[in-house]
């Protein structure tokens, strides 16, 4: 039956009653769909691999699978003791050095940009490279070892706990420094100013006023350093000698076909449990020590020339010490042969020419990073909006994105490979999930915390009244997001892309460029 459209008149010119028309089509909230898709992706990328490892381990233990591994438990205990002792020592030293470093930089040296660059340089290199630098400098025929030997000082052997600890301290110092410096900058100027005007010395003001405010950042720095040291594979592999730690054992056992396949799975799940326990403990500590304030946080600086001089000497000295290993790497890259002589025999650009000739690995690294970066940033964009909207899902996603930061990369990698193997066994593989595709997935899941943290912070800074105006003027949520929210996020997207790209290629570079193994 034909129904005349509303507002039309009949032949006599009388208005016809308005017809009911088709029922209104429910509007699809594309943003919500994207958020839910992103949340599902995150679950697949992070939760599924970790769950696979935990389920495998529980199944193994429950089925009496350890009966034929009588030495496993004592070995596990020894590895755990070694790993905790290493990570604990490194954390104490790094945080102990970072606190005065951050205090001098923020309170006396006004964040001098050259010093800051020097102090953050190791962030660009993977621990693997730092470990090689440790050998070049402090090894048995290292430059520092030889120089000290000429003046009668005998260096202890670095292959073992000492080598790993030195590498980790030099490598992780920037991470703690930046975190603590951010905490010190959040201390309200007025509070510190009041303490000084009431007669406190700079030392008293910093220890009694500033540090309690910045305590959560100090704990966060300790957590980050502890977990980075606890989860590192590269340094123990190169300079660890006979000092065995959990992640390296899990990694080397996983890549070998001659050992028991159950061992790396059990070790991985043990690493997950310890890491998550440490994370919960530190988060609880952070919550208990957090001080709420409503002041605008501009930083107070002390106008004390002597403090500036001491600060410049201390910070400059640390920056120089952190720079030396990378200078050694730079020299190694143009050296024909270096070692056991004090200096390289000759200089050459052959290594760079070889790299240029074999452009394939470099291209692969760039392609993998180029694919993983936009995927991670897109995912972070959706997660960031979800977290800002709040609710249980947002809070869950906020926590989930912390996990890859907390869990050793080796464990996440082992989990992803196991899930992939199970999919293959079930005949569910697709070309996308093999080789480079799997590497992209691993990189996105490993590095997702970086863009997510950037996007979360940026979403929090956005003025929501603009979005509310747009919606009240009739724009859909998708239009509002595209035309109002997104333009405000462009700088954050660029920053997140840069950070993610560096993090991915930093992890990928040495692995893809390495010459593999023989035999």
């Amino acid at each position: 039956m034909h129904t005349p459209p509303a507002g039309r008149a009949d032949r006599a010119g009388r208005d016809l009653p308005a017809a009911p028309g088709p029922p209104p089509v429910p509007r699809v909230d594309f943003l919500r769909v994207a958020e839910i898709l992103a949340a599902a992706c995150l679950v697949v990328l992070v939760i599924v691999p970790l769950a696979a490892i935990l389920v495998d381990s529980v199944t193994l233990v429950a089925s009496g699978g350890l009966g034929d591994l009588p030495d496993f438990l004592p070995h596990l205990m020894r590895l755990t003791r070694n790993s905790l002792f290493l990570a604990g020592t490194v954390t104490i030293v790094v945080v102990g050095l970072s606190m005065p470093l951050a205090a001098f930089m923020t309170r006396a040296l006004r964040e001098n940009s050259m010093l800051k660059l020097g102090l953050t340089l190791p962030l660009l290199a993977p621990p693997f490279v730092s470990a090689f630098a440790t050998i070049v400098l402090f090894g048995r025929v290292g430059v520092v070892t030889q120089v000290l030997a000429r003046i009668g000082i005998v260096m202890p052997d670095i292959y073992g706990f000492l080598g790993i600890a030195v590498t980790h301290v030099m490598h992780l110092l920037p991470l703690a420094y930046l975190t603590i410096a951010a905490g010190l900058q959040s201390v309200p100027r007025a509070v510190e100013e009041s303490a000084i005007s009431l007669g406190s010395s700079p030392f008293q003001a910093i220890t009694r006023v500033v540090l309690p405010y910045a305590a959560p950042h100090v704990y966060m720095a300790a957590l980050l350093v502890f977990l980075a040291s606890f989860g590192d594979v590269g340094a123990p592999l190169l300079v660890g000698g006979q000092y065995l730690v959990l992640p390296t054992e899990a990694f080397t056992r996983f890549i070998s076909f001659m050992v028991d396949r159950r061992v790396p799975v059990l070790l991985s799940s043990w690493i997950v449990l310890i890491s998550v326990c440490v994370m919960f403990a530190v988060r609880a500590l952070m919550r208990r020590t957090a001080i709420a304030h409503t002041f605008t946080a501009t930083t107070y600086t002390y106008d004390a020339p002597r403090l500036r001089v001491v600060g410049a000497v201390f910070c400059g000295g640390v920056a120089l010490i952190l720079f030396v290993p990378y200078l050694a790497i730079l020299v190694s890259s143009v050296a024909t042969v270096w070692g056991p002589d004090l200096l390289p025999r000759a200089l050459t650009f052959d290594h760079y020419q070889a790299l240029w000739r074999s452009v394939g690995p470099l291209r692969n690294s760039l392609v993998i990073s180029g694919v993983a970066t936009p995927l991670a940033v897109l995912l972070a964009l959706a997660i960031g909006r979800l977290v800002r909207e709040g609710g249980r899902l947002g809070a869950a996603m906020d926590f989930l994105t912390l996990l890859p930061f907390v869990i050793s990369g080796v464990v996440l990698g082992i989990g992803i490979v196991r899930v992939y193997a199970q999919l293959e066994a079930a005949g569910l593989t697709v070309a996308l999930l093999s080789g480079p595709g799997l590497l992209v997935i691993a990189m996105v899941s490993r590095r997702i915390p970086y863009p997510v943290r950037v996007m979360n912070a940026s979403f929090m800074r956005i003025d929501r009244s603009l979005e509310e105006c747009s919606v009240s003027l009739g724009a859909s949520s998708a239009t509002t997001f595209a035309r109002v929210t997104l333009p405000q996020l462009y700088p954050a997207i660029l920053a997140a892309s840069t950070i993610t790209f560096i993090q991915v290629i930093r992890e990928l570079g040495p692995r893809s460029l390495s010459t593999g193994r023989v035999g």
Binding site: G241, F257, G339, S514
Partner: protein, 364 residues
């Protein structure tokens, strides 16, 4: 300001398009390509080896593009080929120890070929240093294309500085004068280290070998978990003595490192490396051509240039002066031990158990 925003939009668009294009496989070598023009090789050889192999083969065989997935390791290749059994993506399994190829052949992952067509003039065995090295499977499922010898490697200058003599035999390594000057890798993690232990077992016998290792263990600085790190340490002179395949020491020599090798008088062992056509390979003809080329004089020269001993007589490297020819091996190596695969299987569990104790310090 507006222009900057447009720039960001363009940047984001380009990034998305790039990601989608690459995901769809435009930029990633996933083995799905036009048949007959593209050969997919899974290889356990290091990247620098496979890159030069690809270039050399493509130069002599225009029209065929080779995609090599390098550095996989023998077990990884087997696992992967097994997983892809229903729809094979690779044409050739390349490099890795012979016993891994025997295992792959047992699993039906390698296609039979006619040895006369592929290997042509080659005899079934290579006779060297009083031993017999099998060169191919009777059904043509695998072909040995090169080998390296298990030797003692040392840093000349560092030993001279420490006033230590060059060890001449495997037994010398257990001499207390070398305490703290020897490094070895873990037989649980490295097939070359495992083969060394099996060879020593064959040389010394089941009782003497463990007494010997107890003494040698006292001299070791540590057991390296990374095989490449082992060669780096000896190459720099950090730790002056190690033992493994000669290939890496020769490579170091050519780079200018003061390293050298000793062929122990009790016998150097052979690490032969093989290749085979994958069962159900998308391009079996191109795969056979690839294998034939590697066995040809050109392919064998490439192997020698990359420090693998050639199996074809009269072949010498053209890019360096290290003589790896069969004739040189006959001249220089007094005795060669071929690792007995049956012995390897028989003692594997015991070796793993013992070295779990050695490498965790429990045996000291």
């Amino acid at each position: 300001m507006k222009r900057t925003r447009e720039g960001y939009v363009r940047l984001a668009n380009v990034a998305v398009v790039l990601a989608v294009a690459l995901i769809l496989g435009a930029g990633l070598p996933n083995g799905h390509a036009a048949p007959s023009r593209r050969l997919v090789v899974y290889s356990a050889a290091p990247l620098n080896f496979t890159e030069t192999l690809k270039r050399a083969f493509e130069a002599e065989n225009p029209g065929i593009t080779v995609d090599i997935l390098a550095g996989l390791g023998g077990e990884a290749m087997i696992t992967r080929l097994d997983a892809e059994r229903a729809s094979p993506r690779a044409d050739v399994m390349h490099s890795g120890a012979v016993f891994e190829f025997i295992e792959a052949a047992k699993k039906g992952l390698l296609a039979p070929t006619r040895p006369r067509d592929i290997a042509g003039v080659f005899p079934a065995h290579l006779f060297l240093g009083g031993s017999r090295i099998p060169l191919f499977d009777a059904q043509g499922r695998w072909y040995v294309w090169g080998y390296s010898l298990g030797v003692i490697g040392y840093h000349r200058d560092r030993l001279a500085t420490l006033r230590l003599p060059v060890p001449k035999t495997w037994s010398d390594l257990a001499n207390p004068v070398y305490k703290g000057q020897v490094v070895f890798n873990m037989p649980q993690l490295s097939s070359s280290a495992f083969n060394t232990i099996v060879a020593l077992y064959q040389i010394m016998g089941p009782r003497a070998v463990w007494a010997y290792w107890d003494r040698l263990n006292e001299n070791l600085v540590f057991y390296s978990r990374s095989t490449s790190a082992l060669y780096t340490l000896v190459g720099r002179g950090e730790i002056p003595i190690s033992f493994g395949t000669a290939r890496s020491y020769h490579e170091g020599q050519v780079r200018g490192q003061a390293v050298d090798v000793v062929y122990p008088s009790e016998g150097a062992w052979v690490f032969a490396t093989a290749m085979g056509v994958v069962q159900g390979a998308p391009n079996p003809e191109a795969a056979s051509l690839f294998i034939k080329w590697i066995l040809s004089p050109s392919g064998q020269i490439h192997s020698a240039n990359q420090f693998q001993n050639p199996i074809r007589a009269g072949i010498r490297a053209t890019e360096h002066n290290v003589d790896l020819s069969i004739e040189a091996v006959v001249r220089q190596v007094p005795k060669i031990v071929v690792v007995d695969l049956a012995v390897a299987e028989q003692i594997r569990a015991d070796v793993m158990r013992r070295f779990d104790a050695y490498t965790s310090g429990r045996a000291r």
